[in-house]
């Protein structure tokens, strides 16, 4: 009897304190598998964000640092430049990356910094109680937009892949989701590419993952999975926004 699917060695045995149906866990499992499959676990340094995944240092079975809110790309840059043999990934939520950390991510991308960024877009500030994020959809309710986000007052959501694709710097930009087996498999491929690019010294790779936050969306996990298709993917189209490997550069 052989195990074909199970908890990967790249995760610790600690039970994750995410809500039922939270997308963070699926992405953790994928990263945990790749650390082993790509044989990089021993030389990987992960950067945990501020947000629900602030405890990611307990969950990933590799070296981890937990810097201040939004500073993942800056700290990643420091580690990668001083220890180029390390594989560095910055794991960030949308509040972390697209609000307080906007400057860091834009400049790391512009420099084509040789790091891997895993960007969890759940359109909400999850950890702090469901406040509006820069990524909250027009009309979407949150605890700070109880009537729904009003684009006249609060402006339009930031589409991070599209924004960064306006720069010459980044090597790989892709958006995926984790609500169906098909989308999870696409996410596995994208995150693998994002790590392999770093191993091959290609430069900046970012995978934006549309992720369910059933708790702050006010839905069951199954409703959240459907709403990802109906609303999130409609506003944030999946696919590659930059892939210089395909352009042969």
């Amino acid at each position: 009897m052989q195990q074909i699917f199970g908890r990967p060695q790249g995760l610790t045995d600690v039970l994750q304190r995410y809500c039922p149906g939270c997308g963070h866990g699926v992405v953790h499992r994928i990263i945990g598998e790749l650390l082993v499959k790509l044989n990089i676990r021993e030389r990987t340094v992960g950067i945990a964000p501020v947000g629900c995944s602030v405890f990611a240092d307990e969950y990933f079975n590799c070296d981890m640092i937990q810097p201040p809110h939004g500073r993942g790309p800056a700290v990643s840059t420091g580690i990668k430049r001083t220890r180029p043999n390390c594989i560095v990934f910055s794991y960030q939520g949308d509040g972390d990356l697209a609000a307080i950390g906007t400057a860091e991510i834009v400049h790391a991308a512009a420099r084509n910094e040789n790091i891997t960024v895993i960007f969890i877009n759940n359109a909400i500030f999850g950890m702090t109680g469901g406040q509006m994020a820069p990524t909250t959809l027009p009309g979407m309710r949150s605890t700070t937009s109880v009537q729904g986000r009003d684009i006249k007052k609060q402006g339009y959501p930031i589409k991070v892949c599209e924004l960064l694709a306006g720069l010459d710097g980044p090597y790989y930009l892709v958006r995926t989701a984790v609500n169906t087996p098909k989308n999870v498999i696409a996410t596995e491929k994208a995150i693998k590419n994002a790590f392999v690019n770093q191993v091959d010294n290609k430069g900046f790779s970012l995978v934006e993952i549309l992720s369910m936050c059933p708790t702050n969306w006010g839905m069951t996990p199954v409703q959240a999975k459907k709403w990802t298709d109906e609303s999130m993917i409609k506003y944030y189209p999946l696919g590659e926004y930059r892939n210089r490997a395909k352009e042969g550069k």
Binding site: I4, F5, L15, P20, P181, V184, I185, V222, K225
Partner: protein, 69 residues
């Protein structure tokens, strides 16, 4: 023969693996069982039908599923 094992104490009863994901439809949320965190864990109704596709594992956030063959 492939078969699936639910880690009852790890499962959070989210139901994502039970919602039309399984091609042979053998996963349900247990109506009767309850784990020590208070969740109704997923349950396998007929393990002999499992084809080992791994879809349930791929959508499970914990992961609370193991698949053997």
């Amino acid at each position: 023969m492939p078969h699936v094992k639910i880690l009852e104490e790890v499962c959070k009863g989210c139901g994502l693996c039970c919602d039309g994901i399984c091609p042979v439809n053998i996963l349900i949320l247990s109506p009767g069982r309850i784990n020590s965190n208070g969740y109704h864990p997923a349950e396998v109704t007929d393990n002999s039908k499992c084809i080992g596709c791994g879809y349930c594992f791929k959508v499970c956030p914990e992961p609370a599923i193991e698949i053997y063959k």
